[in-house]
Subunit: 329 residues, 2 copies
């Protein structure tokens, strides 16, 4: 149940045929613009064991497992956010669900690096000056390099760990902080462990926010935390907007002592009148961290591997558990 | 003979004291706004053996070695382009000259990576859309990652070699082409050698122009060469504007099949009415590749090392030879 665009970007280079070979009989349908009633009758008619789904697949009816399609065992969702498609109750009732999980982490890490390099060179400012203002540098132009900088990473999941190898050619001064991650994990990666989130922000010049969002972590990056970043420092968020108090961030960014790079926001799309849009030392991207269009095939490969495992009766990789469901957005 | 700004950015963290300790007696003078006559009389009065110079140091009089300051043996120039300060004849006559040489290469390589990542994500486009147009991505948004891409590098000097370790975490498919570089050098770095410049452009998706400018290489990247880049590819120039036929580049870029990132131009500052400024799939920076302000200290360290070597009677690192002078801009 995918759109032609989803097929053409996720299931490229023979991946659609591989998928058909794995789940026989397989019916490929275009769900673009499908009504809830149509969807219900299609589910009822085919009563599939496996549903391979994408962004445009309509929500599963609440009684899908009991009434509409009782054979359904596994929802293999190619993208990430499955809350619109599947309810928590369906997972509680035993429905197996997978998504792109950490297959996209390296592209999010790449986006974090881009934002840091871009903020430190003021690249977006200069690109705009060059295009629209006839601009050129002068004797007062200030730029910064990532080389030999002290880096602090909040969070230590798959994106943070994918970022480490991208940073290593620039600096060996990498610290991280994430509650509950054992010290030996950091050691393996050659990363120093900060004592607290406060010291992570105080002791480093470039801060990457890559922590998972939990209710306790909402607004964890507030004015006091942001003021710990040394003058001239850089703050990057590629995780979730709700980790940061956006009013505080805007206030601190407007003072001009730090550079900020954001890919994520509390409300997405970012409202047209949001203060971030008028603050020019914030580099803004519209949540395009990962995956890039050309790497959607990585997500497809993860799904194909899971379909293979499902068919062999093996556990799938990174199932969406109730806990992961609760954390997801 | 430096400005306060040059001292405050190059000779930071005790480097000015180190310099004074190395060249005794040492007179530190501010050359900001100095006339040619003042400069001539200061040179004549002090008749220095060593001149440590910066961007604002006035040109040396043509008769500096014969008449004005016959004791002068070594010009230790902290920045890069020494053509304004020193004539070729002075080098022919035995004046020793050094500049920042390859101490800045890694920051230029960093700028090249930033331009590639920025072009592939359309980061500057999106930053501008987000700030000025209330923009947000939609279903048609296309982005690219550097992961697993085929990279082609034209040139194999210190910047190219500094770029390799920054690219390695993204891809192992790195090729290079530069006439006269022995094959074993590429092998050492794990880089494939292209047969020709033509095949470098045809066979790769992201092309970095980092070759040294010689008269034969002027306009070497022309329309035919640019059309060899596969559709969707990326062309980055952080070397010299004159390597590229800018009319051809503008023509090809306007067609929209490749992304382009530029830090250098035939005429700098880039003229206000240059066509590049209205072509929005060219990411533009105002020649700020290297060094960044915070890494000018690397150039100072290179100069301090050279002053030490000079004092010990040892050969200096990377002297500006007549050949290097001829190639420099």
């Amino acid at each position: 149940m995918l759109t032609p665009t989803e097929i053409d970007t996720f299931l490229v280079d023979g991946r659609l045929d591989s998928l058909k070979g794995l789940v026989e009989p397989c019916v490929v349908m275009d769900c673009e613009g499908m009504s809830a009633d149509e969807w219900r009758s299609i589910l009822s008619e085919h009563n599939p064991e496996i549903l391979v789904a994408g962004w445009k697949t309509p929500s599963l009816p609440e009684d899908v497992l009991t009434e509409v399609a009782p054979a359904l065992r596994y929802v293999c969702y190619l993208p990430g956010s499955i809350r619109k498609l599947v309810t928590r109750k369906m997972i509680e009732d035993g429905l197996l669900v997978s998504n792109w999980a950490s297959s996209i982490s390296r592209t999010v890490a790449e986006c974090a690096l881009l934002l840091a390099l871009g903020c430190m060179r003021k690249a977006s400012y200069w690109n705009e000056q060059m295009h629209n203002q006839g601009g050129w540098k002068d004797g007062t132009t200030q730029t910064q390099s990532l080389f030999e900088r002290r880096i602090g990473i909040h969070g230590y999941g798959s994106v943070a760990r994918a970022l480490i190898p991208l940073l290593k050619p620039f600096t060996s001064k990498i610290s991280a902080y994430s509650e509950g991650v054992p010290a030996e994990i950091y050691e393996q990666d050659g990363v120093a462990l900060s004592d607290s989130l406060e010291s992570l922000f105080s002791d480093n010049e470039v801060i990457f926010e890559i922590e998972a969002l939990t209710p306790e972590r909402e607004d964890i990056v507030d004015e006091a935390m942001l003021r710990r970043i040394p003058a001239g420092g850089t703050f990057i968020n590629v995780a979730r907007g709700a980790l940061v108090n956006e009013d505080d961030l805007l206030k601190v960014a407007r003072e001009g002592h730090i550079q900020v790079g954001l890919d994520v926001y509390k409300v997405e799309p970012l409202p047209a009148d949001h203060g971030f849009r008028t603050c020019h030392n914030i580099m803004l991207l519209p949540h395009l961290g990962g995956p890039t269009t050309d790497r959607r095939k990585d997500a497809a490969d993860q799904s194909l591997e899971n379909l293979k495992r499902y068919k062999r009766g093996e556990p799938i990789l990174s199932p969406v558990t109730q806990e992961i469901y609760d954390r997801s957005t």
